[in-house]
């Protein structure tokens, strides 16, 4: 039922400055798709191209194989939710929700039914006759969402809809948006710079940087197999080390930070001996080593320790002077490290990621 959006070799320029160079992307029908990237990377620009508010300098955008380049924004049948809500202050909540329907030559009864049902879905029925400026930010954003989806749009576009809300509301609204989207089943493009929000809400995510797509994948893929060091550090936390490759009888070893030598299976072939690499390690991929005899470790001192219930978060200063973040599942009261305590670490060689020297290609081969 949903619509597939295909963005084909699209370019956006402001004057001489190319903001988006030749970008291609396919968003599957019915999925919750997120554009994730640091602020200024061109997410809004791309979203507004889909909506029709920005011109397209080259390339095409298709809805189900139909090019929409020449269709003006008011004929694209798009639902949009903005960061600043953009609720019409001179209309009641109900009038806001019905606004798009009234343009669509529907009879009064249908308008009423549709808007009642959508207000039910986003839980604003009780505010129907209020004026928007009597509503909180979260309630206003619900109205905006209702107003956007009540017209049964081909696609739903949301530009940082939660960033004006406080942290608690953000989490509440994020699941509300997720649930409503699943219930209605519209193809949704969601823009955010908040990776945690993206991971929590999306079916798939495209990570953008400087107008280019870095990686497209499910939250799990992005987290565990980031395509490059940008994604590794932008999505979740990773420590990126310089490393060197060592081949030995067909076994592949990586020497991390000149100290820790680990065997990595599933590495791509064709890497030369002593080739410079990058290795990214997530906090939970560091493993403390208890045996003082062990020398193949990264040594450091615990600088801080935060107990978070399910796990502990440490800041460790390595002998190289570098600060890293490490976490440890809460297991037993005796296993914890204290501030100032010396610590030896190795890494989980199944889970760490290995990149080429520029950090731009992930060298781990997925089996299967």
């Amino acid at each position: 039922m949903g619509t597939e959006i295909r963005i084909a070799e699209v370019t956006k320029k402001y004057g001489d400055k190319t903001i988006i160079p030749n970008l291609s992307l396919t968003i599957r029908s019915g999925e919750f798709f997120t554009l994730l990237g640091p602020s200024g990377c061109g997410k809004t620009t791309l979203l507004r191209m889909i909506a029709g508010f920005n011109t397209i300098e080259a390339g095409s955008i298709y809805f189900d194989d139909k090019s929409i380049n020449a269709i003006p924004p008011y004929l694209r049948n798009i639902g949009m939710v903005f960061q600043s809500y953009a609720i019409f202050p001179h209309m009641s909540v109900r009038k806001n929700v019905e606004y798009g329907l009234r343009q669509r030559k529907l009879d009064k009864k249908t308008i009423r039914e549709w808007s009642d049902s959508i207000m039910e879905t986003v839980k604003i029925t009780e505010y129907a006759d209020r004026s928007p400026n009597q509503l909180s930010g979260g309630q206003q954003q619900r109205v905006a969402l209702a107003r956007a989806i009540v017209i049964r749009p081909t696609v739903l576009l949301m530009d940082e809809p939660l960033s004006n809300l406080d942290a608690k509301l953000r989490i509440e609204m994020r699941s509300a948006i997720h649930d409503v989207q699943k219930e209605v089943g519209i193809t949704t493009v969601y823009v955010t710079h908040d990776q945690e929000e993206a991971l929590a809400i999306s079916d798939r995510i495209a990570v953008m940087n400087q107008g280019e797509i870095q990686q497209v994948g499910t939250p799990v893929e992005l987290y565990h197999r980031p395509a490059n060091t940008f994604v590794a550090t932008f999505v979740g936390t990773s420590t990126v080390f310089d490393a060197v490759f060592q081949g030995n009888d067909g076994d592949a070893f990586v020497v991390i930070d000149g100290q820790l030598r680990v065997k990595v299976d599933h590495l791509r072939s064709g890497i030369a001996d002593s080739e410079a690499l990058k290795v990214s390690v997530r906090p939970e991929e560091f493993i403390p080593v208890r045996d003082p005899q062990q020398t193949n470790v990264l040594k450091g001192v615990v600088k801080s320790c935060v107990f978070l219930g399910k796990y502990l978060n440490y800041e460790v200063q390595l002998t190289s002077g570098r600060m890293i973040e490490m976490s440890q599942p809460a297991s037993g009261i005796r296993d914890y490290f204290k501030e100032g305590e010396e610590i030896a670490l190795t890494v989980d060689c199944e889970r760490i990621n290995v990149f080429d020297g520029a950090g731009s290609v992930n060298l781990i081969r997925e089996e299967g």
């Binding site: 397209i56 380049n69 003006p72 008011y74 001179h90 606004y99 669509r104």
Partner: protein
């Protein structure tokens, strides 16, 4: 790409407005320019007119007079307006709202009627003059000439400075002045070292406003100046004078006026440029209680100035009910003046409201469209419109009248003597207020609101009607009220453009005064004054505001 289509309707509107501007503003300006350089006897291009102006003291003295009057008035207005604003903002004053209302009303009242009232009070046969003579047997000096002009202008124009400076002071953060106090500044020093520099740009904006008003006003010097000629009076008398070919000379004087105003405007923008301060985090100045002795002086000052500036309005209304014959008021009270006024000039009363209403409707539509184009559809065209449309703000109405008449007094557009040309003059002269206030509110409005509507299926044009328009209205009205009030009291352009059947109330007051029919004049003037006051009050009631944004 083919996205262009959606802007098409605005493009058409933009071009239409551009053509109108060209036709009714640029071409007339050009005509004035050409006319100024034409030798009236030979019809060839020359500098004769300018040479004539600068060769005879009779002519160039009026320029010196204008400058003398304007500078004096401006200085007085600053001297009165700035302390008033400062005291009203920083001290607890009883009846502040009342004072403010009175100040606004003095500012909005027709200035030539003010001048006329001062004659009724302090003229040869004035109420106060006679009172002083009867009581003390003492002859006061006459107010005709320089003194009278300055008095009438100052009482009408100091509110501009007051309003501007109050606005600026209300945006000052109190921590600034507190900081100054902690540094050991005494209150007086604080004012000079902290407050004045901060409000300086605003004072300059007000100064420009007062200056252009005083410099270009025709009615006041004409009424009370007698032999004391200023430039607008000279332009008028030269233009309507019987000697042939004086239109060219009047154009040349007009050009000189325009050049003086533009120079001043440029100097002002140069001085103020980059000197305005934005306070981001605001804790406004708190009004303080003042000691008894001090507060007595403050009250005398504030109430004194306000009452004196309101005096003309009261005088006019009171004297309109006195019996009169010619320039003499007699014993007894009646409605005779009104009855005579309606009989003799009822037409002009109707004209005033009719023309003003038509002009206001046009201003509303055009003003909103121009504001929308200049804020939302940025282009070379829109920047041009934005600047050019504001230009009439600094041109004297007399000059505007002459420009229009020079241009449209021949086929194919023979408009001389019609109501149309009056309405055109009203629109051009007073649309800047509405454009300015509409643009201001549009700039504050997030365009995302309009995009939301477009994404919901409304074309840009329907979006304008459904969303932009309703949200703009409050801003539009705050400009419209100013346009309206200034149109109904318009004299300087009307007096050039009217014919018997298109006379308005202002013109009628002016002619009745010059014919010594003081009774009818004061009845008409009262109707005008009351209309102004009611308009202001109704606007305040409807908008919930307590100020008129200039």
């Amino acid at each position: 790409m083919r996205m262009r289509k959606q802007w098409d309707s605005w493009m058409v509107i933009g071009i239409a407005i551009f053509v109108l501007t060209l036709l009714f503003l640029i071409v007339p300006l050009g005509t004035l320019f050409i006319s100024a350089f034409k030798d009236p006897s030979t019809g060839t291009f020359s500098l004769t007119n300018f040479a004539r102006f600068f060769s005879k003291p009779y002519y160039y003295n009026s320029m010196l007079n204008s400058i003398k009057v304007t500078v004096t008035v401006t200085v007085l207005c600053v001297v009165i307006g700035v302390p008033m604003a400062y005291l009203m903002t920083t001290c607890k004053i009883r009846g502040k709202t009342f004072l403010q209302l009175m100040i606004i009303i003095s500012m909005m009242s027709p200035s030539f009627i003010g001048a006329y009232s001062w004659i009724l009070l302090l003229g040869r046969n004035g109420f106060i003059t006679n009172l002083v003579r009867d009581l003390f047997g003492f002859e006061m000096g006459t107010i005709y000439g320089f003194g009278g002009i300055v008095l009438a202008f100052t009482m009408k124009l100091y509110p501009y400075i007051y309003m501007y400076v109050s606005g600026a002071l209300s945006k000052l953060d109190s921590s600034l002045t507190e900081a100054a106090e902690n540094l050991g500044c005494s209150p007086v020093k604080k004012v000079f070292s902290v407050v004045i520099p901060l409000i300086f740009p605003t004072v300059m904006a007000g100064v420009l406003m007062v200056f252009t008003n005083a410099f270009s006003d025709f009615g006041t010097p004409m009424m009370i100046g007698e032999g004391y000629r200023t430039l607008p009076v000279l332009v008028y008398t030269e233009y309507v004078g019987e000697v042939g070919g004086t239109a060219n000379f009047a154009s040349a004087i007009s050009m000189i006026m325009v050049i003086i105003t533009i120079t001043l405007f440029l100097v002002q923008t140069r001085i103020v440029d980059k000197k305005s301060y934005e306070m981001s985090f605001l804790r406004p100045l708190e009004p303080q209680k003042v000691s008894l002795g001090k507060s007595f002086l403050i009250y005398v000052f504030l109430y004194g100035v306000t009452i004196v500036s309101m005096l003309p309005n009261l005088t006019i209304v009171v004297s309109s009910f006195r019996n009169s014959s010619g320039p003499v008021y007699k014993e007894g009270w009646s409605f005779n003046n009104y009855i005579n006024a309606f009989e003799k000039a009822g037409n002009s009363i109707l004209n005033t409201y009719k023309f003003a209403l038509i002009a206001i409707l046009i201003i509303m539509v055009l003003g909103m469209a121009i504001a929308y184009i200049s804020v939302r559809k940025k282009s070379v065209l829109s920047r041009f419109l934005d600047t050019v449309v504001m230009f009439p703000l600094i041109i004297s109405g007399t000059i505007m009248g002459i420009m229009l008449l020079l241009t449209f007094n021949a086929k194919p557009l023979m408009l001389g003597g019609t109501a149309t040309i009056l309405i055109i003059a009203f629109v051009i002269r007073r649309i800047p207020y509405t454009v300015r206030s509409s643009s201001a509110i549009l700039r504050q409005m997030n365009p995302v609101m309009e995009e939301a509507s477009i994404s919901l299926g409304y074309t840009p044009m329907r979006t304008f009607w459904k969303v932009t328009c309703p949200l703009m209205l409050s801003g539009v009205f705050s400009g419209l009220i100013l346009s309206w009030i200034t149109i109904i009291q318009e004299l300087s352009a009307s007096v050039i453009l009217y014919t018997g059947s298109t006379a308005t109330m202002s013109v009628q007051v002016y002619t009745e005064v010059s014919r010594n029919n003081y009774g009818i004049a004061s009845a008409m003037a009262s109707i005008l004054t009351v209309t102004v006051v009611l308009s202001v009050l109704i606007f305040f009631r409807l908008s919930g505001k307590k100020e008129i944004s200039l």
